[in-house]
Symmetry: C2
Subunit: 225 residues, 2 copies
DNA sequence: ATGTGCGTCAAACGTATGTTTCAAACAGAC
DNA sequence: GTCTGTTTGAAACATACGTTTGACGCACAT
């Protein structure tokens, strides 16, 4: 069959296994047996396990970052001069993620889970790879956030962005488990689109909360400064 | 020296290494060499690596859950009948965490990072252990949150709680790295208390955001339902 | 037909892991 | 001092990992 679809079969299997088990917990033997290819094929085609991880991320991150750049271009053009609002910026990101052409119905949740893992698991090589390869759209996103929240001090904005990233990465990185709980306890099915639709208002509201460093409303005496 | 501080030295080393590298990425040999004890001591005193992980969690989670129960008792007593507000509930949790006696200055960030890892890394045995052992205070916290946000639907509330947990666990778990960045880029020192003081208003605002499932403010046609 | 590259295969490599073993060292009770 | 149960020590165990090897098959150009 033409030339080797082995590469794609490996990428598909690796993507799925990484997403559901993490990187260290997924062995090459699991990947190759799920993909029904020979063990040596990974090292032959990719060179190493780390390079395979990079390839898995590159396969969906490269088209995504292009889509995202376009979305930001369009958004800034539509706003002509004025900086886009916080909601517009967040939605541009969300739409770009949701609209990505998916390989299968689990595509986007795998995508999200992998991003969460990349942030959470402290794989040094991965973080360097992602910063080097995809740092630019990330920085652009940060710049848009800054322009959309001029009322925040630099320190407040910095921390609130961390909170946003945390809520997003954490939710997405455990989304399968969470969806299981929700299905069992509440009997509800949830799509990634619905989660995103709930997440964005939460983030926007938190981002625009009244200034921090209020004294807690209890009788307490926490040292806040 | 009395009876073996070997156990504590192992727990100290394991706690720190788990927090900074994750569970699978931390070998027993790293732990025992950091603790300067013999390799066999772990299996002798704890039985297995998994049991060691449980012991690490138990050591800080047991006193914490007791502190937390007291804080909730006191809060409910003070409110006499009326359900505590969202802010009060969040502050009760935060104070309990911050006021825990710390083994060292990194105590609370290790604590948070471990909780985040427990949620994120799909270690089945750990989740079962935590649910079995500490499910009760967690459920009580959830009940308080429910009573404090009667306007939310069960599904909305469920997801927003996940967002809160994510922002918290993520932020606290990387707070050392984040504080370094902040110190370098903005020239500011930050304590865990200050981070908490910024986090709680963010969470409260997100939790009380207008109902979700709004159509995005752009021209888009995302399927939100 | 024949040689050349590329992809696949089973097998092995060296290393690191969690766990076990068993002898030695130690403590406190009598 | 001697005994007894507990804790440590160095070494080995079996297994799993990522990676490498070298033979083999197959297409295609000459």
């Amino acid at each position: 069959m033409a030339q080797s679809d082995t590469v794609d079969r490996i990428l598909d299997a690796a993507e799925e296994l990484f997403a559901e088990r993490g990187f260290s917990e997924t062995s090459l033997r699991m990947i190759t047996s799920k993909a029904r290819v020979n063990l040596a094929a990974v090292n032959y085609h990719f060179g190493s396990k780390n390079a395979l991880i990079h390839a898995v991320f590159g396969r969906f991150l490269t088209p995504f970052s292009a889509t995202l750049e376009n979305a930001f271009d369009e958004l800034e053009a539509r706003c002509g001069g004025n900086p886009p609002t916080l909601n517009q910026t967040l939605w541009a990101l969300t739409e770009s993620a949701v609209r990505m052409p998916q390989r299968n119905e689990k595509g986007i949740s795998i995508f999200m889970r992998l991003l969460g893992l990349a942030y959470t698991q402290s794989q040094g090589h991965l973080r360097k790879f992602l910063e080097l390869e995809y740092g630019e759209p990330f920085n652009r996103f940060m710049r848009l956030l800054k322009e959309a929240t001029p009322q925040l001090s630099a320190v407040d904005r910095y921390w609130r962005i961390q909170f946003m990233l945390g809520a997003t990465a954490f939710t997405m990185s455990s989304s399968d488990a969470l969806q299981d709980i929700l299905r069992n306890k509440l009997g509800v099915e949830t799509t990634v689109q619905e989660i995103a639709a709930r997440l964005v208002p939460f983030l926007a509201a938190g981002m625009q909360a009244p200034d921090a460093l209020l004294v807690p409303p209890t009788s307490s005496k926490i040292p806040v400064a």
